[in-house]
């Protein structure tokens, strides 16, 4: 078998991230505590260069999909857009995290190394064209995440949530693997394209395929955190150190989206009628539970965890439509949601001080008196999460809903709107606390410049993206051929 070095070209971003992660791992050993900032800079440079590498290979809609490595790796437009979004999110995560990591005495190279390996796992998932590489990418991301959650070793809360995450994650991996083995048993192939051809021959009513599909849905739903596979999410978001919650909340949702598209649309597209029903069930439950239980939370991290669950419901709505417009809407929603989630957790970090974690709603009381600017940033983020026009969150919701209406599931769209109206209550409550209540402390907000600058951009993006998101929406559409 001949090997051509050029087949590695589409893999350049992955190879670069792997090389840099290993380099940082070794370099960190020789960098003293005081100069840990170098590790941070190396991680940021990695993101910049990998973005350039991905951009160089990104050729727009006319560029054909490239498959290499014997059909285990695929480079296409959807993958490139999602990867670029992940780099931007990870850069924001690193900037936000640095401040809080210093407070917690967690400013160690391992955070960056594990986060980069986790990012590599996401990239592998996004580009997976076979069940095997999909599963391995998922495990790479999951293992890095478990370790990151447990990184704060002296915190009983972090260890407990890491344990829960690990045990539940292992069960979900088992379910996913079992589903994959059923699909393999029925179709005789691990390759997603070959599976889709075999499914066409077998017919969509093959019971073994349906059985395998049910387990695949479990695996994907766990990764998303959709009800009833959401149990880990509030505990892990709450228990993990905020820089790690930030990492978990933002980018992995994009990888989960890619996983759902590759498994359900690419491989099992002919079984749309089966997985649509399952996803409707998951979406209905996620929207209800996420929005209603969040009202009862007094801890902001827990509240945002439930808010994640409800937003996952929206992402699933777009996917279950099964149309290119639905996928594009869901992809746009996932990207916008990840940006909003990163911003809100960034705000928690901004208000945290040495030894005090601003994770309760009370910490946001009277923020307007302490810093009108950041109260406005937080208001933008929350209003966008709630889906208030003219913020970009509203337009993301609108696109998903119109995709659902287009497939004649109007009741589902109406239901989603009602649930978001219920959900708007708890976002508005935080805004009320910030603007109408008196602050508990009049301490000024101390944070480094880079954190404040990125957070400001993140907040303003909620408004500006409404007008400037055209290229993103167009790219999302082009990824699915519209």
């Amino acid at each position: 078998m001949e090997f051509d070095i050029l087949t590695l070209k589409p893999l350049l971003p992955e190879l670069f991230v792997l090389t840099m992660a290993c380099l940082i791992l070794v370099a960190d050993l020789y960098i003293s505590e005081a100069r840990r900032g170098i590790v941070h800079m190396m991680a940021m440079l990695t993101l910049v260069f990998v973005a350039i590498l991905t951009m160089r290979s990104y050729g727009g809609a006319e560029q054909a999909t490239v498959m290499v490595m014997n059909g285990t790796f695929v480079r296409d437009q959807m993958g490139d857009i999602l990867k670029l979004a992940i780099y931007v999110l990870m850069a924001a995560v690193f900037v936000y995290a640095k401040h809080d990591l210093r407070h917690r005495k967690l400013f160690v190279g391992e955070y960056y190394v594990l986060a980069l390996f986790g990012m590599l796992g996401m990239m592998v998932m996004i580009s997976a064209a076979s069940l095997l590489s999909m599963y391995l990418g998922l495990e790479l991301l999951a293992l890095s995440s478990y370790a990151l959650v447990a990184l704060e070793r002296d915190s009983a809360r972090a260890s407990e949530s890491a344990m829960k995450y690990f045990v539940l994650g292992a069960m979900a991996s088992g379910a996913l693997l079992y589903g994959m083995s059923m699909i393999y048993g029925a179709t005789g192939s691990l390759d997603l394209l070959e599976i889709s051809m075999a499914v066409r021959d077998l017919g969509s009513d093959d019971i073994v395929l349906a059985f395998g599909l049910a387990f695949l849905v479990v695996g994907v739903a766990f990764k998303f955190g959709a009800v009833p596979f959401h149990m880990w999410l509030p505990d892990v978001y709450h228990g993990a150190p905020t820089p790690v919650t930030l990492f978990l909340a933002a980018a992995p949702k994009l990888a989960a989206f890619a996983m759902a598209i590759r498994l359900f649309d690419l491989a099992l597209g002919d079984m749309h009628i089966h997985w649509q029903g399952m996803l409707v069930f998951l979406a209905v439950l996620s929207l209800a539970l996420g929005n209603i239980v969040a009202i009862a939370q007094t801890n902001l991290k827990r509240m945002l965890a439930y808010s994640t669950i409800s937003h996952v419901g929206f992402m699933l709505l777009g996917i279950l439509a099964g149309t290119p417009a639905g996928y594009a809407a869901s992809m746009f929603y996932a990207i916008i949601y990840a940006i909003m989630a990163a911003g809100t957790f960034g705000m928690i970090i901004l208000l945290s001080r040495q030894g005090v974690e601003a994770e309760n709603l009370d910490h946001f009381k009277g923020l307007n008196k302490r810093s009108p600017w950041f109260a406005a940033v937080m208001m933008f983020l929350l209003a966008s999460l709630a889906g208030v026009p003219p913020f970009v969150g509203f337009f993301a919701k609108l696109q998903v809903l119109s995709a659902v209406v287009d497939i004649n599931l109007t009741w589902l769209a109406v239901y989603a709107v009602i649930m978001s109206v219920i959900g708007a209550f708890y976002y508005l409550r935080v805004i009320k606390l910030m603007y109408l209540d008196a602050p508990d402390t009049d301490e000024p907000i101390n944070a480094p410049f880079d954190l404040k600058a990125v957070l400001t951009v993140n907040g303003l993006a909620q408004l500006l993206l409404t007008f400037l998101a055209g290229p993103i929406i167009a790219a999302c559409g082009a990824a699915f051929g519209i």
Partner: protein
């Protein structure tokens, strides 16, 4: 109908495997559980041997039975695991758990029965030609067809190492250790104190 010898061997190993796996999760003593896991690995190696996957079978015995499980036994023996608190909610959750398990088992039986995975659904595998090497064939696909997943698996192992060290390695202030650099720099004045005192007469003289 007589059973072919392969079927008899398969059912023999399969029965032991299922029994051992059940014992792993049901015995009270965790050392016994680890030993049953060894038995489970060993019998699955037997089944793999039946599939003519000799290399995998031997690796399973060497790596899992020989190395991993022995280490695991050490850990189990060093930890003082109390079984009773772990089983605290067992009786309370048993009815619901049993119902869910039974329903799932019934559903799996319906799908995985002879209708979909019966002998007639799959062709009889061709026996391997003489001189066929399982190890060579595995190596061939591992480094060509499955090169990419193989590399990712290697990265996963690297992450596991990094995570294990990051989570367990810590500098304890109470740990005593030697610093050779300081040891060789020591001077006589640092360690030795010469006390001048007058000689004293013995009391009995």
């Amino acid at each position: 109908m007589t059973m072919p010898i392969e079927a008899i061997i398969f059912y023999f190993f399969a029965a032991i495997l299922v029994g051992a796996a059940l014992a792993v999760i049901s015995v009270r003593n965790s050392v016994y559980a680890a030993l049953f896991l060894v038995l489970a690995f060993f019998t699955s190696a037997g089944i793999w041997m039946l599939l003519e996957a000799e290399f995998l079978a031997i690796t399973l015995v060497l790596v899992y039975v020989g190395a991993v499980m022995v280490l695991f036994l050490f850990v189990v023996m060093m930890l003082d695991i109390k079984v009773e608190p772990l089983k605290a909610g067992f009786a309370r959750y048993l009815p619901v758990g049993a119902i869910v398990a039974l329903v799932m088992a019934a559903e799996m039986f319906l799908v995985l029965g002879a209708k979909h995975f019966g002998m007639e659904r799959f062709p009889v595998p061709q026996p391997n030609p003489l001189g066929y090497s399982n190890t060579e064939e595995l190596g061939r696909v591992l480094y060509t067809e499955y090169y990419y997943p193989f590399e990712i698996a290697a990265v996963i192992l690297l992450v596991a190492i990094v995570a294990a060290i990051a989570l367990t390695l810590r500098k304890r202030p109470e740990t005593k250790f030697q610093d050779p650099a300081l040891q060789i720099q020591v001077r006589k004045e640092d360690r030795l104190r010469i006390v001048k005192m007058d000689a004293e007469k013995r009391a009995d003289q």
